[in-house]
Amino acid sequence: MTVEGPIASAELELDRELLAAFRAGERSALERVYFAFVDDVFRLAALGFSTPGGVIRPALDPDEQRTIVQEVFVRAFAPKARTAYDGLRPYRPYLLMIARNLMVDRARTRGAENARASTVEVEEIPGAAAEVEEAEDQRRLREAARAFVATLDAELARLVELRFDHDLSQLEIADRMHITRRRVRTLEARVIEGFRRFLDRERPGRGRRP
């Protein structure tokens, strides 16, 4: 079975073909669901939430945020979790329930006193307008990124706009810029490496961490 459709949309409760492919574990269906909901899972990880038993603090470290997102989808896409989804209710709350359970488990493992909740009935989930808190070094890094982007030529600046602002895939960017995917990869590598060098220049003595 081949699942086609916009990657930003994955209404499993409405699309029976997609639901069947998802339950069967077909990669294209899983990928579509992942990209449709990854932002929601990230926001939950980065904002935290409250339960009757306490508050699950947000993950501020980017590595931890990525790990949580990864583990949520590994858990949600496991055969048992896929088949347990009934396909009648919207998938997003089901996925976020898995995310909340995982975050509570992690908090318990860490021995956090605020994770004493025996259930994970959520009392409050941050609204869409809530801003993700960033650590101070991340804020400085973002400021440096703005300064770095201002130094780029038109082609690299366009790549940054499409890749990092518009959130497009390399294939989509290749189509928009009328260049090959390999060229997109090369430009992206130049941007990342250029940013690294920019940081090294701007902060002499800081050194290059492994």
């Binding site: 081949t2 086609e4 574990g25 990669r27 294209s28 899983l30 990928e31 992942y34 990209f35 990854v38 932002d39 990230f42 926001r43 980065a46 980017p62 590595d63 945020q65 990525r66 997102v69 990864q70 989808f73 590994v74 896409f77 496991a78 801003e131 993700v132 960033e134 991340q138 890094l141 973002r142 440096a144 990124a145 982007v149 940054v160 890749r163 990092f164 602002d165 959130d167 497009l168 895939s169 990869r185 090369t186 992206e188 590598a189 130049r190 941007v191 990342i192 490496e193 940013f195 690294r196 940081l199 290059r208 961490r209 492994p210």
Partner: protein
């Protein structure tokens, strides 16, 4: 600093960068499709002889030198495509299956497939290979094939790869990157 952290800083606030999302998806996908978690039955010499007759077309282009490299964070990706009009991995007998391989650093590539009957078809023990293709001739019985690509800093022999098998699982050293994909061969048709 990690590539993904640099990408985060370049992206809009309050969300993962696309680069991070793709990297996370690759890791999720790899864990979900790790067929070596099931019992691996390595092929007989006869099966390898069949594999040797597969037509292989190789290009030896390498990543440009300006490509950023960092040990330990590189990912390897593989897309299987028989016909641009069809989804990746959707193949018919008679198709030319293209392996669209990509990695964030240069290295040596090993590429093989597990046929529906469990035998292993070896494609490439080569280096710097970015594209290969195989003609899906009559020897490819209809069914589901799982392709594994390994990227390493030294050439891997078939014996090396077999030695990674532990209790039915393929467990390569941490410096060997691995990705798996599936293609399905159907009878000849549109």
């Amino acid at each position: 600093m990690k590539r993904e952290n640099l990408a985060r800083a370049l992206a809009r606030p309050d969300r993962l960068s696309r680069l991070e999302k793709e990297a996370i998806w690759q890791r999720v996908d790899t864990r979900l499709t790790a067929w070596w978690r099931r019992r691996v039955v390595w092929s007989s010499a006869g099966a390898l002889a069949v594999a040797a007759t597969v037509t292989i077309v190789m290009a030896t282009k390498r990543e440009p030198k300006e490509t950023w490299q960092e040990r330990g964070t590189s990912a390897v990706t593989l897309t299987l495509r028989c016909n641009p009009a069809r989804s990746p991995g959707d193949c018919r007998r008679g198709d030319r299956l293209v392996f669209d391989f990509d990695a964030e650093r240069d290295g040596y590539v090993a590429l093989f497939a597990r046929a529906p009957d469990g035998t292993v078809l070896w494609y490439v023990p080569g280096d710097g290979v970015l594209e290969t293709a195989a003609l899906l001739d009559a020897r490819y019985v209809p069914g589901r094939y799982e392709v594994v690509v390994l990227l390493s800093e030294r050439p891997l022999s078939r014996g090396d790869i077999k030695s990674f098998a532990r209790d039915g699982q393929l467990v390569p050293p941490h410096d060997v990157r691995i990705a798996t994909r599936v293609f399905v061969v159907a009878e000849e048709g549109p």
